[in-house]
Symmetry: C2
Subunit: 325 residues, 2 copies
């Protein structure tokens, strides 16, 4: 059967709270600039109390990708766990308003919807502190078999390896996708996340990931490689398509024998939150249209540039116009 | 006694939800572009369901002014009514994190914290739909006598004339300020708001408003004048200082015999939400430092330009650096 969805995303459903902070604020709290770390409820409350004024918006890495891919015209669905609370309702509204099908039942009577406290420093870098909340309740049963079977690409979020029950869900999604002749994409999400789950990520690649998204630090960490070139060579042997991002240096797409260098699109950098998510959206939306890899890389670069030109992870301009779709 | 606060703001405490919309969306719902209208809970729910993905941030006209004035170094307090809910906690956090003293007790067991659904059209205009919620519970008792007596300027939000109990609160605040030799500033907020409360606004001016903020449509509506020049002449006879904004044409400051023309500061216009609020912040913060009117107008223009250069009403850059304070 032809797929009825272009992309089905599976990830942590999160409300972002973005605030400006200076380097001293990060240093005083021992925060690694540019990284994501997991925090408990009490630590999140203390950090929030100390943070500057915030802007709230729906986030979550793969959820951001899904919203942007839908804006580009792709047929998109999403699986992720919110709670039955106000942020959960806002998350659901924002997904559906973006044109993404989202029907995972919310968690009732448990932890609240996940929050990510994001500190944006004057150099436009974002440092993330995630309180997983209801996301820890996402499990195998939340993997909608019909949805996975109907999606050309199922896109898995590396961060979803952190909640304990989600690894089994990932393996189930991969099995269903493969049994139905569909593709699987994976984002490595964060170098520390790779460090926590290196073996599981490597196993997942070998089990049939078709498209891998990673930045330089993540792919080096995955292979514990001495440098980017070594890591890029290793991933080429394991994954049919690897899109490796290098910030202002653009990206490298390794596909079998083929290597494409994609320039970053010029823009004023305001906040890097969501850059990688938008990159994946542009890539997957162009891929869904059957466009050649060079075009996938171009759409990816344009969407990443849009994301970093404003505060917040989700698109604020018309992406179809931006890429000329 | 010398004042211990430069500015005490009194207004509707609101959570903003901003989303992009096209002109057809406004037309289909009979919405007046650029205006604010009041909506009930059911209408707000229906509009939210139809709206695009949103960005949430603390808003409220005078609350926005207070946050920006504090960022400019002024000593600022705020009075306004939120509910004891998550948006109310977010509002309180954002005010205190901005450096604004905010201690109005939240409403318990009543309506939720006010929301304003803001539709931003491609021409960067914002159209606002406010569900007042807990704001209607703001009354005379919430006017903290010691705070008003200690503030050099008490700044009243015209929109606060809409909740029924707030007009008495306004008159009480004005009495206390005047009895303590303090100044009172007023924003007319919106031309339709002026139409609803014209006589009450005119009475308040005569009772001793020292500084008035209004845009062209508002001041014309206040005096039911045939044109801007006629309205400007009328207000000059009633108020010591009137700062009259004219969008891209800059502003006119009328102060007794004196007239100052202030140019708008150049910027790329993304979203006009909060432009007037930021203008008032720049003006009042410079006024608090005893700067001359030309400088008050310059700070006002710079802050307004910052506000319209991004999505959302509150400042996203360092305002002190911006104005050279």
């Amino acid at each position: 059967m032809p797929p009825t969805l272009d992309i089905l995303g599976i990830g942590n459903a999160i409300l972002d709270v973005l605030a400006r902070a200076d380097d001293a604020f990060l240093a005083a709290r021992g925060l690694d600039k540019g990284a994501m770390r997991l925090v408990g409820t009490e630590e999140a409350e203390a950090l929030y109390a100390a943070m500057g004024p915030g802007i709230e918006s729906s986030g979550g890495s793969v959820a951001n990708t899904c919203a942007a891919a839908a804006a580009l015209g792709a047929r998109v669905g999403y699986l992720g766990k919110v709670a039955n609370d106000l942020p959960g309702q806002v998350f659901g509204h924002d997904m559906r308003a973006a044109g993404v099908a989202f029907d995972t039942p919310p968690l009732v009577g448990g932890a609240p919807t996940a929050r990510c406290l994001i500190l944006v420093t004057p150099d436009a870098q974002r440092t993330m502190n995630t309180c997983l909340g209801a996301c820890v309740a996402f499990g195998e049963d939340d993997v909608d078999e019909a949805a996975v079977a109907s999606a050309a690409v199922t896109y898995l979020e590396g961060y979803l390896f952190d909640p304990p029950a989600a690894q089994a869900a990932f393996r189930r999604a991969l099995r269903i996708a493969k049994a139905n002749g569909r593709q699987v994409a994976l984002s490595l999400s964060d170098p520390f996340c790779v460090g926590r789950h290196r073996d599981a990520f490597r196993a997942l690649l070998r089990d049939g990931v078709d498209i891998l998204f990673a930045n330089e630090a993540e792919i080096i960490s995955l292979y514990e490689a001495p440098d980017f070139a070594t890591a890029a060579k290793a991933v080429r042997a394991e994954v049919p398509i690897a899109a490796l991002t290098r910030s202002a240096a653009g990206s490298v797409i390794a596909a079998g024998e083929e290597t494409l260098l994609v320039a970053a699109a010029p823009t004023q950098v305001v906040d890097t939150t969501g850059a990688g998510d938008a990159y994946a959206a542009g890539f997957l939306a162009a891929h869904a249209r059957g466009l050649p890899l060079a075009k996938c890389g171009r759409w990816a670069a344009l969407c990443a540039a849009e994301a970093i030109s404003h505060v917040g992870a989700r698109p604020q301009t018309d992406l179809k116009v931006l890429v000329g779709a």
